[in-house]
């Protein structure tokens, strides 16, 4: 289940949806990304997420399909917000449910890594020292890259 929205999401509700009716689930891994209040000495006042709607839907569907192909998953949920967010606000929710905890953990981490490097979202931070676009981190590319290697071997 994939959703891209400006509204906040309710983790409990999404978790209930995943669990509902599926009695084969043994482990559920979740990730919630939230807006931090600061980085280093700066205070972050707000963050605006821009995205490329037509492409976002396609990329998220591809990422979900890839996770389901790699791990025996009973359910996957990705909810990603866009628009203006404030410190402490939720940005993204990823849920992976499986009969085995290892699959749930790996798939959840894979989904977050791929979201960070393949989903067309961009973050504009409004900080105490001005507004600026968040730069892509090499560490995120490395994190996503390890899944490529594992699939290629």
């Amino acid at each position: 289940m994939i959703r891209v929205q400006t509204e906040d999401f309710d983790v409990a509700q999404e978790l209930a949806r995943v669990r509902r009716g599926d009695r084969g689930i043994g482990g559920i891994a979740l990730f919630v990304g939230v807006v931090r209040a600061g980085a280093g000495d700066e205070t972050i006042r707000a963050m605006t997420l821009e995205h490329y709607p037509a492409m976002t839907e396609r990329e998220l569907a591809k990422i979900e399909a890839e996770a389901k192909a790699r791990w025996p998953l009973e359910a996957v949920t990705i909810v990603h917000r866009y628009g203006r967010l404030e410190p402490g606000d939720q940005i993204v929710l990823v849920i992976a449910a499986s009969s085995h905890r290892q699959a749930a953990f790996e798939a959840c981490e894979f989904l977050v890594d791929w979201l960070k490097t393949k989903a067309p979202f961009w973050k504009l931070e409004d900080t105490s020292s001005g507004s600026r676009w968040v730069e892509a981190r090499a560490a995120d590319d490395d994190a996503a890259e390890r899944w490529q290697k594992e699939s290629g071997s």
């Binding site: 990304g33 997420l49 821009e50 995205h51 490329y52 037509a54 492409m55 396609r58 990603h80 940005i91 993204v92 977050v112 979201l115 960070k116 490097t117 393949k118 989903a119 067309p120 979202f121 961009w122 973050k123 504009l124 676009w133 968040v134 730069e135 892509a136 995120d140």
Partner: protein
């Protein structure tokens, strides 16, 4: 051909989208990028650094060698920072 710009590239060019009709010799993503850079100083600056310009053709990530044609939607944007 519909061109879209996102994030810092959109801000630098001052446009979110434009309709363009490049000459017939512009058949690849790379050639289109060069042609767009020749339009004015803002395009040249915004699209100048190949390391930070990513491209999607019809909503799929694309390489410079990929073909583009009339009717395509081509998007230029910096590396993504979602999640």
């Amino acid at each position: 051909m519909r061109i879209l710009y996102f994030a810092s590239i959109r801000q630098k060019i001052g446009l979110a989208a434009e309709e363009v009709s490049p000459p017939p010799e512009v058949t690849t993503v790379g050639a289109l990028l060069e042609w767009l850079k020749g339009r004015d100083a803002r395009h040249a600056e915004a699209l100048g650094d190949p390391r930070v310009v990513k491209v999607a053709v019809n909503q799929d990530f694309a390489d410079p060698e990929m073909k583009v044609a009339e009717g395509d939607e081509v998007a230029f944007f910096p590396p993504v920072t979602g999640g």
